[in-house]
């Protein structure tokens, strides 16, 4: 078997790694007391909680173990244990520490909310705090810096832009419906491509469906101005509109989006579908179809918080695995003392609370003040995997393969970043997942971005 540094290997001596923690002495005693598993296998150097689905975390690092223990305790309503573990995590956790400490800190918050059924309140508080510091400059700085150090988002941008350009080739009136939280960072390179094409530069209309109403008011206005200026610079006839419609995505119509008959439509969904309530996702997809677009691009993060939403422990593990990967990626991509990374991590904390502590009918019913869904800026954020999205999208669309040119562009993009990133084509991914996949899916669409050989982002294109 090929020994990859990123894959789980079977080592017996994971203990030395723990010496790196200064509070190791506290942990050691407790770990042995709590450890319910015969832990003989570990990953060799990462704190990532990589595991096959269904198996508990076999990681040597303490955070994953403790957190999972706590989750199990919560689902079993073992309050002594819950208290004990929460206390321990609290002692060890810190949002400014190393990876384990960060994970512990943010997940502890979610677990606490879950245990005390205060998820919604906590989420609201976190959102309010975030909104206060939400302005164009900081958002721009954050997003651009992230894109500079990691292809996490730019992967989807390049793939989507490539698919859109190819699908709309030859059209002279383009209208892109952008349902995303990218703050239009995807579009400058598209403008440039449109302007430098050999043929006549087409007219472009961009209608952004903002995913949160606060962003609309404070930030999108400025973003729109910049886009207009830049399009002018590029010589692309351009029109910009913003609408706030995520909560009623399924009810958007051609009229409400301002679509005219002579336009070629592209629908661009980046990180948006996961913010739609699970039950409403199919109707949203039907809405897309009703717009009769030439192409629909969907980019989502590869994680499943949706099929297991009624199983807390399973959902928790999935969450831990995904965010563990994400935090690790952030740590390795950003410089050591990066403020931007801290911001991104904090953004995650809201999502984590939302997914783990805000689900379920009981809590929602208990909070009368929160009946209005618009209170929640980011909706449920229940991610699904590419295979799952494919199932839904296939009902209205057929998957469009990315052309070789686009694939090459993406590969070239990944080369420009630090190592660890690679592109995986659907058939390769299917082979990987084959034995685990619950879906008998022969035609998996889209391409995957993998980091240390774990798929993290999925990008796809669809045509009617």
């Amino acid at each position: 078997m090929h020994l990859s540094p990123y894959k789980k290997t079977h080592f017996n001596n994971n203990i030395p790694h723990l010496h790196h923690h200064h509070h190791h002495h506290i942990h050691d005693d407790d770990a042995s007391a709590i450890d319910m598993h015969n832990n003989t296998t570990t990953t060799n150097s990462t704190s990532r909680c990589s595991s096959d689905s269904g198996e508990p975390c076999e990681d040597g690092k303490w955070a994953c173990k403790l957190l999972k223990e706590c989750a199990i305790a919560i689902s079993q309503r073992d309050s002594t244990k819950i208290h004990h573990l929460l206390w321990m995590l609290n002692e060890l956790a810190s949002p400014y520490g190393d990876l384990d400490q960060k994970l512990a800190s943010y997940f502890l918050q979610a677990l606490f909310c879950k245990a005390t059924e205060s998820g919604h309140r906590c989420y609201k508080t976190l959102s309010t705090v975030a909104q206060k510091s939400n302005n164009f400059d900081s958002a721009r700085k954050l997003i651009l810096k992230f894109q500079e150090v990691s292809p996490w988002t730019t992967f989807g941008h390049v793939a989507a832009n490539g698919a859109i350009l190819e699908a709309l080739e030859g059209e002279s009136n383009l209208h892109i419906i952008d349902i995303s939280n990218t703050l239009c960072t995807q579009w400058p390179t598209l403008f440039e491509a449109l302007a430098t094409r050999n043929d006549e530069t087409p007219r472009l209309r961009l209608t952004v469906v903002a995913l949160s109403s606060t962003t609309v008011s404070s930030v999108m206005k400025e973003v729109g101005q910049r886009m207009e200026k830049f399009a002018r610079l590029m010589g692309v006839p351009f029109e910009f509109n913003v609408i706030n419609g995520l909560d009623r995505l399924g009810e958007l119509t051609k009229e409400s989006l301002g679509i005219t008959n002579d336009e070629a439509i592209a629908v661009n969904c980046i990180g948006a579908l996961r913010r739609i309530e699970v039950e409403e996702r199919e109707s949203a997809i039907r809405m897309f179809r009703s717009l009769n677009p030439k192409v629909v691009t969907v980019v989502e993060e590869e994680a499943d918080f949706s099929s297991n939403r009624n199983d807390f422990v399973q959902c928790f593990e999935e969450c831990l695995k995904f965010y563990g990967l994400y935090f690790e990626m952030l740590e390795e991509s950003f410089p050591l003392t990066s403020n931007e990374r801290l911001m991104l991590e904090r953004d995650c904390s809201r999502s984590i609370v939302r997914v783990l502590a805000c689900g379920g009918g009981d809590e929602q019913n208990n909070n009368d003040e929160n009946n209005n869904k618009e209170e929640f800026e980011d909706c449920c954020e229940r991610r699904e995997r590419g295979t799952q999205w494919c199932e839904k999208l296939k009902k209205e669309f057929s998957g469009a393969k990315f052309s070789d040119d686009v694939v090459d562009d993406v590969k070239a993009l990944l080369k420009r970043y630090r190592g660890g990133w690679s592109l995986v084509l659907p058939q390769q991914q299917q082979q990987e997942e084959g034995h685990n996949s619950n879906y008998n899916n022969n035609t998996l669409s889209g391409i995957f971005l993998t980091w240390k050989e774990e798929p993290v982002v999925w990008a796809s294109a669809w045509k009617p």
């Binding site: 651009l144 400058p188 006549e200 010589g235």
Partner: protein
């Protein structure tokens, strides 16, 4: 004079007898979508050859009549024929090829399919056919850009990844995509546009046909014109465009600089994606005036102005010897044709053109007091509003002054590192001289747009003065 030659070339295309219909197959008039080296205006007497794609791309077109062997080049064929020991008579070429041949593109939808736009060079038409209608087989593995012509690909590979992109705000990027995205959101862009808008109103009031101004314009035209050389291939142009943006990759020798700037100058104007849009933005005469100045000879919008500026050119040369030497300083000269916003669009001439136009439009607004600048330069300058008295000083101001104004929008600028940028040197400077001469104190502003004697000058200017 080269300018005139180039102009003639451009004029010829309009006067070309066969040109009854300039654009039989394109959607936009060729004058608006002119590619860099306007090809396809052949000699009316030439024989028009239409080859099929297969024949066109055949590698061995020259066949020996004796043995049938094929060669890529005629010279090779002749060399080979010598080996057949032919009698003297047959050694000569049977057909002397007295007629000049021009070739049309076999692609029916192509503009060059029409005989009036045929290309005179066989290699040229082959490359054209490949580039526009051929399969792009050659791919750069660094940026995955594709080329149909191998020589294009090779030329690109040499420079790919070596470029650096610098934004007006001072940040440097090694990756084009992150540069573009940054540029779109950069505050520098916002400021530029704000100044353009503010400028346009002042522009209208300060336009005047002052002779001194013409001199400067002419001078700059000359500077641009003399070094203008026709066309190069795509790669050269791209490279030169980027070179002027970049800090380092291409060495700035005098010649190279001149060549770079001129090819850019030409390309800016000729590769017109959206010339019409530019025209729209250039609402005032003022702006067109700038255009003439900025782009030198090849101005298709205002041929009359073009001529005037060109004629003025010759008269000013003699009067500005000093500037000539200054101009030859590579760093100054290279940056002189470097509008800020070129960075943004760097990949194509179109962008530069728009950028330059916007820049040009700005210049009028920033009426400025050259004395502070000149003071910093160590030159004397007549003060106050009587700037116009000293012709030379005005010209200096014209060359150097307004660029500084343009780069700084307001007090904010003083904290930015952009002053160190070569890119600050900007051709549209002379414009500010006019307001100085005409207006009283009202509109004068410090070059940097801040009040008072605020000498935030790029250090290199002082350095360059040492060379004078």
């Amino acid at each position: 004079m080269l300018i005139l030659q180039n102009m003639d070339h451009g004029e010829l295309s309009n006067a070309f007898p066969h040109h009854q219909n300039q654009n039989p197959t394109t959607t936009t008039p060729p004058s608006l979508k002119r590619k860099r080296n306007l090809p396809g205006n052949p000699d009316p007497e030439a024989e028009v050859i239409a080859l099929s794609p297969k024949t066109l791309m055949a590698t061995n077109r020259f066949l020996c009549e004796t043995c049938g062997k094929g060669f890529q080049r005629d010279q090779n064929l002749q060399l080979h024929r010598r080996g057949h020991n032919l009698p003297w008579k047959l050694k000569q070429r049977t057909n002397k090829e007295p007629k000049k041949r021009v070739y049309v593109c076999p692609e029916k939808t192509c503009v060059h399919n029409h005989p009036s736009r045929a290309l005179g060079d066989l290699t040229g038409i082959k490359k054209h056919f490949c580039r526009k209608h051929g399969e792009k087989k050659w791919k750069c593995d660094k940026c995955s850009k594709r080329y149909a012509v191998q020589s294009d690909w090779k030329a690109h590979s040499k420079t790919c990844g070596t470029r650096e992109y610098k934004c007006d705000c001072g940040t440097i990027f090694s990756r084009r995509d992150s540069f573009i995205t940054h540029r779109a959101f950069c505050d520098a862009l916002a400021e530029e546009t704000a100044r353009v808008n503010a400028a346009s109103s002042i522009n209208n009031s300060t336009l005047g046909a002052n002779n001194n101004n013409n001199n400067i314009i002419g001078y700059n035209n000359m500077m641009i014109g003399t070094s203008m050389a026709p066309h190069h291939n795509n790669n050269n142009n791209m490279a030169t465009q980027f070179a002027s943006i970049c800090n380092k990759p291409i060495p700035f020798t005098e010649e190279a600089t001149n060549n770079q700037t001129t090819t850019r100058g030409l390309s800016l104007w000729m590769d017109h994606h959206h010339h019409h849009r530019q025209e729209a933005t250039m609402a005032t005469n003022n702006n067109n005036y700038h255009l003439n100045w900025v782009f030198g000879s090849k101005i298709s919008t205002n041929p009359s102005q073009d001529l005037s500026s060109n004629t003025i050119t010759s008269t000013t040369t003699a009067s500005l010897p000093i500037l000539g030497s200054i101009v030859n300083v590579p760093s100054l000269y290279s940056s002189q044709h470097q509008p800020h916003q070129t960075c943004a669009s760097s990949s194509s001439a179109n962008m530069s053109a728009t950028a330059l136009l916007q820049k040009a439009a700005q210049v009028g607004a920033t009426s400025s007091d050259p004395s502070s600048f000149l003071g910093a330069l160590g030159l004397k300058c007549s003060n106050g509003s009587g700037q116009g008295q000293d012709g030379n000083n005005n010209k200096f101001c014209g060359v150097y002054g307004s660029s500084l104004v343009l780069t700084s929008s307001s007090n904010n600028i003083s904290t930015e590192p952009e002053k160190n940028e070569l890119s600050q040197m900007h051709p549209s400077k002379r414009r500010h001289v006019m307001p100085n001469e005409e207006s009283g104190g009202g509109q004068t502003r410090d070059f940097l747009g801040v009040g008072g004697a605020n000498h935030h000058l790029p250090p290199f200017i002082n350095q360059s003065l040492d060379l004078i």
